[in-house]
């Protein structure tokens, strides 16, 4: 059991027998009232989100999770397919649960995943990842406006706004949360 006030982003809970992961929490102190917490929860199996308002002192059922390395194999348009690196067992995760992750994960790469029983609750994408610039528009000659930018596409299909000097075939570091360009990476 855990007090609702201690639930944080990433905490896994069991609600009516189903696992949910907290994706947002906000403390609310209604005018002259007791402390409450508003939780936004997501079901890892369906991607469905749920809002719960609880008193900070209420008990919630938290679940024990473990981290395991899993190799990302491919997606079939509906599910991500992973292989556990320790048992070679294959596991599917609905893509709808992790929107945009298809553009952030690289085929064959190993990711740390949060598991509850045999179910993936979270895929931990590193906060900064190096991507290969697969497609880039040519910079327009004579375009010297300061701070000018253009879009490139990475090998994973992610579109990123970058400074105009970035060329196809180069590598860049990207903030995976905001999907913003951070810097060019030299080989």
């Amino acid at each position: 059991m855990i007090k609702a006030g201690q639930i944080d982003k990433g905490t896994a809970l069991l609600i009516k027998g189903q696992p949910f992961v907290c994706i947002d929490r906000e403390f609310v102190n209604p005018g002259k009232g007791s402390a409450f917490v508003r939780l936004k929860l997501k079901s890892p199996s369906t991607g469905q989100t749920l809002s719960e308002t609880m008193k900070s002192q209420d008990n919630a059922e938290d679940i024990q999770v473990s981290d395991r390395d899993s190799q990302y194999l491919y997606n079939d348009g509906e599910n991500f397919h992973f292989m556990l690196t320790d048992t070679f067992e294959q596991i599917e995760v609905p893509m709808a649960t992790f929107p945009d992750y298809e553009f952030l994960m690289k085929d064959g790469e190993t990711y740390r995943c949060t598991f509850w029983e045999e179910q993936i609750l979270d895929i931990q994408i590193p906060p900064k990842v190096i991507f290969f610039v697969a497609e880039a528009e040519e910079a327009v000659k004579g375009d010297t406006v300061q701070g000018a930018t253009k879009y490139i596409t990475t090998e994973t299909g992610l579109k990123v706004r970058v400074p105009i000097f970035i060329k196809q075939g180069e590598k860049i570091r990207v903030n995976t949360e905001t999907k913003e360009y951070l810097e060019r990476v030299n080989n």
């Binding site: 944080d8 947002d24 929490r25 906000e26 403390f27 609310v28 102190n29 209604p30 005018g31 002259k32 009232g33 007791s34 402390a35 409450f36 508003r38 809002s51 308002t53 609880m54 008193k55 209420d58 008990n59």
Partner: protein
């Protein structure tokens, strides 16, 4: 940051011109206080004055300037206003919370909480720039808590004055109310925060009027409700208003009851227990009819500037100084 500073300076100048034209006295009262009004739900900051000859005294940072402003009113100051810094501990740090915040508090003599709606509308008409902030312009929308509970949760509060029946209604709505005893206010807020607050109209400033009497405070009681309103703008709580309680016996009993609750709760949690002045109720032996309004100025400034986050409005928000720590809700 510079834009925010200039905007605040302009807003404060407009607030001052509004109240000065209407003969309110601007006052400046202490932030460090020997005692506070007991409010069990507002956590406090405690500190200490130390002097090797005089000794040490516990002091508390004010959560609002109410104690001192009411003392001035009792002395016969007439209508007063103040722009001050206030401090509330343990609340979230983030988009719309900072433990130190700016408050405008004004008390109008001879007025009740309904008059304060009109005064606040005039204030908003005075401070809202001509363009761009239509959602802040008066007239305000008006709804009572009783109407809102009927409209959004289908609950008739007058029929559910006991916690037991209110909890049954809450469970019918699918809420998990634990079997252990809780107060009527707690059950009410479960319903209010889940079904009512997120659905309140947001196109205009909304006066949510007549709070339940069970939520104890220093606003006059009127049957099952209190002569108190809160104002929401775009879903954010911005102001709170009372028809101020003037009966010394009612204030004395509020102090006794709420202080006992505060001590019990904070002894359990280990948080700061401020002193309360046992003689505070005496100032109400000769206290004029008046209504007080408190407005969170950082939030108001945020809304006037068309922003949704206090960071960028407050120059050095605590969340920024702490980095992106765990307690920050970004």
């Amino acid at each position: 940051m510079r834009e925010a500073a200039l905007y605040r300076s302009k807003l404060y100048a407009e607030v001052r011109s509004f109240f000065n034209q209407r003969d309110y006295v601007e006052v400046d009262t202490p932030s460090l206080s020997l005692d506070l009004i007991p409010e069990p739900t507002i956590e406090n900051f405690g500190t200490r004055f130390d002097n090797e000859f005089i000794g040490s005294t516990d002091l508390y940072l004010i959560p609002s300037p109410e104690v001192y402003m009411k003392k001035l009113i009792a002395m016969g100051f007439g209508s007063v206003y103040q722009l001050s810094h206030c401090f509330r501990n343990s609340e979230q740090i983030g988009k719309i919370h900072n433990p130190e915040f700016s408050m405008l508090e004004y008390y109008t003599m001879g007025a009740d909480e309904q008059d304060s709606i009109g005064i606040t509308e005039e204030l908003f008409a005075h401070i809202a720039p001509r363009n761009g902030v239509d959602h802040l312009r008066p007239p305000f929308a008006h709804l009572t808590v009783e109407e809102a509970m009927k409209r959004y949760a289908n609950i008739d509060l007058d029929q559910h004055q006991s916690q037991r029946t209110l909890a049954l209604e809450a469970r019918k709505l699918g809420l998990q109310v634990p079997e252990e005893k809780e107060s009527w206010e707690e059950t009410f807020n479960r319903i209010f925060l889940t079904f009512v607050e997120p659905n309140l109209p947001q196109d205009k400033p909304l006066v949510l009027d007549r709070y339940p009497a069970q939520i104890d405070c220093l606003a006059k009681r009127d049957g099952n409700y209190r002569k108190r309103w809160e104002m929401y703008i775009g879903g954010v709580e911005v102001a709170n208003c009372y028809d101020e309680e003037r009966n010394p016996e009612v204030v004395r009993s509020y102090y006794r009851k709420e202080y006992a609750k505060l001590v019990q709760k904070r002894t359990e949690t280990g948080s700061v227990i401020p002193d309360a002045d046992p003689d505070f109720a005496d100032i109400f032996k000769n206290f004029p009819q008046c209504s007080g309004v408190a407005i969170g100025m950082d939030r108001l400034l945020m809304l006037l500037m068309g922003k949704t986050d206090l960071r960028g409005v407050i120059l050095f928000p605590l969340s920024g100084m702490l980095g992106s720590g765990k307690n920050c809700n970004i």
